[in-house]
């Protein structure tokens, strides 16, 4: 049930990102759900990356490579991300968003980065309400 819901969230992020807004919503969705499902996020990253490529007319596999490499790098620095300080998660999110927008949208706009972070925060709060879980499953790669 949880997987179906998370899949629908990612699919909605893919559709909105590819049709209406030039924001890294799929990336934000993956980073948010990684806090819930732990290392299983890599399979979601692979699948959502492929679907995003289909929707955005990109070369297939490009988004998947980006998401997986980003999650791999994030996993390597998991000790830092394991701290309880929110600032580390926020910094990683901002860095990921900047890299994504530079690579795929060829631009850095402060407003879009701020809006993306706010979207990530809202999505995280929604997931916390729907799936409250005291056990914090960090990304373990």
């Amino acid at each position: 049930m949880a997987n179906i819901f998370l899949g629908q969230i990612l699919l909605a992020c893919v559709i909105v990102e590819s049709t209406l807004l030039s924001l890294p919503l799929t990336l934000i969705g993956l980073l948010v759900i990684s806090r819930k499902i732990g290392d299983d996020v890599i399979y979601w990253a692979f699948a959502s990356g492929l679907i995003l490529d289909f929707f955005t007319l990109r070369t297939l596999g490009l988004s998947s490579i980006f998401f997986l490499v980003l999650l791999f790098i994030g996993g390597r620095y998991r000790k830092k991300l394991h701290t309880s300080q929110f600032i580390y998660h926020l910094l990683f999110l901002i860095l990921a968003i900047i890299l994504y927008t530079v690579f795929f949208y060829r631009t850095i706009e402060i407003l879009k980065i701020v809006f993306s972070c706010i979207s990530g925060g809202i999505l995280f709060i929604i997931l916390e309400k729907i799936f409250p879980d005291s056990a914090d499953k960090r990304l373990e790669i």
Partner: protein, 257 residues
């Protein structure tokens, strides 16, 4: 744990393989059936967003409801008069085009393209099967919106004039020449204009006919000029003449002859 750590390497390897295969054009048979699902989804979502924007405009205009009703009646009357004039002018125009050098010759052929998405690129519901090719200009009337940059079987995308990766040669109706360069925040700049060239506010900016684009396609109007006497060039901000976010159908110029 070890198995999980190997999984990501395998997934990255598979992604790279898929990338190489698609880059080589070997996955075309996978993309064609995917468009059957993707096209109606994107068309529905984008169409709904445009309707929602129009609905919000209606709510915003509600305080002016009564004056709007009067305006509608007056405009209907004027519309009927103008329709008659249009018909007679159209007949006259067809014959004049044969003799005058119009900016959009009657010899141009167009592919009607529905807009199915608008994020970084404008995505169109026509593709290779409809005759679309990369590099073709996308217009509404004689206003240039962008160029086709990616083509699939039934979809294509157009890079817009506000994109940071587009640069095209342009000129004004007074003869000032330079280059259009897209900037952040969806703006366009007219750059590399010599100081001696005449450039004024509200000058119309059009294509020069180079870089594979037809000549005299309207880009926009000059809204702000930035000039420094110590510099060789001056530049200007260009405002578009149409709101591309409200357009649901555009045209791809498929042939100039």
């Amino acid at each position: 744990m070890e198995a999980r750590s190997h999984s990501i390497y395998w997934l990255i390897a598979v992604s790279v393989l898929i990338f190489i295969l698609d880059y080589s054009g070997l996955l075309f048979f996978v993309k064609v059936p995917a468009d059957i699902v993707i096209l109606p989804v994107k068309r529905g979502v984008y169409g709904s967003s445009v309707k929602l924007k129009n609905l919000l405009n209606v709510f915003a205009s509600y305080p002016r409801y009564h004056s709007l009703v009067d305006d509608v009646s007056r405009l209907k009357r004027e519309n009927e008069e103008l329709s008659y004039r249009i018909k007679s002018l159209t007949d006259e125009n067809i014959s004049m085009r044969r003799q005058l050098d119009a900016s959009l010759p009657a010899s141009y052929t167009y592919i009607t393209a529905p807009v199915i998405a608008l994020s970084r690129f404008m995505e169109l519901g026509v593709g290779e099967t409809d005759g679309v090719k990369a590099g073709m200009p996308v217009v509404i009337g004689n206003v240039l919106l962008g160029k086709i940059n990616a083509v699939w079987a039934r979809r294509s995308s157009a890079i817009l004039l506000t994109d940071t990766e587009i640069t095209i040669p342009i000129k004004t109706d007074r003869g000032a020449k330079g280059a259009l360069h897209g900037q952040v925040s969806d703006t366009m700049f007219f750059e590399k204009v010599l100081q001696k060239d005449p450039l004024f506010l509200n000058d119309t900016v059009v294509t020069t006919g180079e870089d594979g684009l037809p000549p005299n396609l309207v880009i926009g109007k000059v809204s702000y000029i930035q000039s420094d006497d110590a510099s060789v060039y001056k530049q200007a901000k260009i405002d578009p003449v149409i709101d591309r976010t409200k357009e649901r159908t555009v045209f791809v110029i498929s042939s100039l002859h």
